[in-house]
Symmetry: C2
Subunit: 212 residues, 2 copies
């Protein structure tokens, strides 16, 4: 019943599931065969009843006294989280961060394939990064007819964030992964995921200073 | 009174401040001189009383009817958030993501300078990426005497996350920026900042599926 994936899950659950996956992936690499929610709880620092609740969304049941099969749990989690499907994405802004994300093969392991890049910089338009072609941003709508990407990744300077989001929305993407710290607005049917790694720096700097 | 920076701020405030900074940076690029909290509120979708409260941590006062000077607000926010100081960091794991982060000059604009990389892969040990030298991970403690980095960035495979965190802790870093989805544990005096960009993919995929 893979339809379970279509249930809107609470964000805290969705953020914890990858922790469990990371842990069971490690166990699998170590050759461990079974794991209990108590054991996961100890390692991950999440209440074991919470873990059981989170895992109840999946099509997997642990065996009494033995726990979950590590292999099945890894497989189920990865599949449930959408990491085993391929989601295509276009990269808007192929500057330092955008190019870095295109080069990061880790994204592919988590089901994200960047199929094309778009920029306004004439020097990089027409070039390729790891086989991904960079186009003029004015060609986005036209190229989307070919690439049909579901996701648009925003890695442009702040002052171009909103107009780029509008272009993506018009080009028919279903989600925008926003790496800028700008609060973009789009129509309700487009999913927005904000990942401002630089904002995390602010939190970390403050915590360091406060511990002095 | 820059000592204000040493107050432990609530995380939600620390996450909102970079949004305001992104917005005033944009205004500054557009040549706008003043901005009110009402105006910021409309753009950013945060209550204006909340904005006034957040900004009260800073050494800046708005003028009645005119609002805040855009230039001063940008300067104050950037300084307050620690983006104008230089924080040195070592990169543990110079694979795809680690190398990408070293190449991302954006981090430097936000006050983070990566001074050295460490890995176990003999093929990349001894090489340089954008002027950043890659060392054998076993040389971390020794090289830290030279580099004295405050921050360790973790971009290793999940199964090496905890041992790498232990090495960083022993090498005397004050904070670990953890890009792995693994829940590392370190002693209390080390700050941990988790930034699992792949976990954000899981949230986005679920939201897309739920909207089908």
């Amino acid at each position: 019943m893979s339809e379970k994936k279509d249930i809107l899950l609470p964000e805290p659950t969705l953020r914890r599931l990858p922790w469990y996956l990371a842990y069971v992936n490690m166990l699998q690499a170590q050759g461990v065969e079974y794991v209990s929610s108590t054991q996961i709880s100890k390692e991950i620092n999440v209440d074991s009843s919470q873990i059981a609740k989170d895992l109840s969304f999946l099509n997997i049941r642990g065996k009494t006294r033995i726990g979950y099969s590590v292999e099945s749990l890894a497989e189920e989690l990865s599949n449930f989280l959408g990491f085993q499907q391929e989601h295509s994405a276009v990269m808007i802004g192929v500057g330092s961060l955008g190019a870095a994300l295109i080069r990061d093969s880790g994204l592919m392991q988590y089901g994200l394939r960047i199929v094309a890049g778009f920029d306004i910089n004439k020097k990089i338009i027409g070039t390729e990064i790891c086989g991904v072609r960079v186009y003029d941003i004015s060609d986005l709508k036209e190229q989307q007819k070919v690439y049909k990407a579901n996701i648009g990744i925003l890695a442009v300077p702040v002052e171009h964030a909103q107009e780029s989001a509008d272009l993506l929305s018009e080009a028919g993407v279903r989600a925008i992964w926003n790496f800028t710290p700008f609060r973009i607005k789009v129509k309700d049917d487009v999913v927005i995921q904000n990942t401002s790694i630089y904002a995390h720096l602010a939190v970390m700097y403050n915590r360091i200073n406060a511990k002095k």
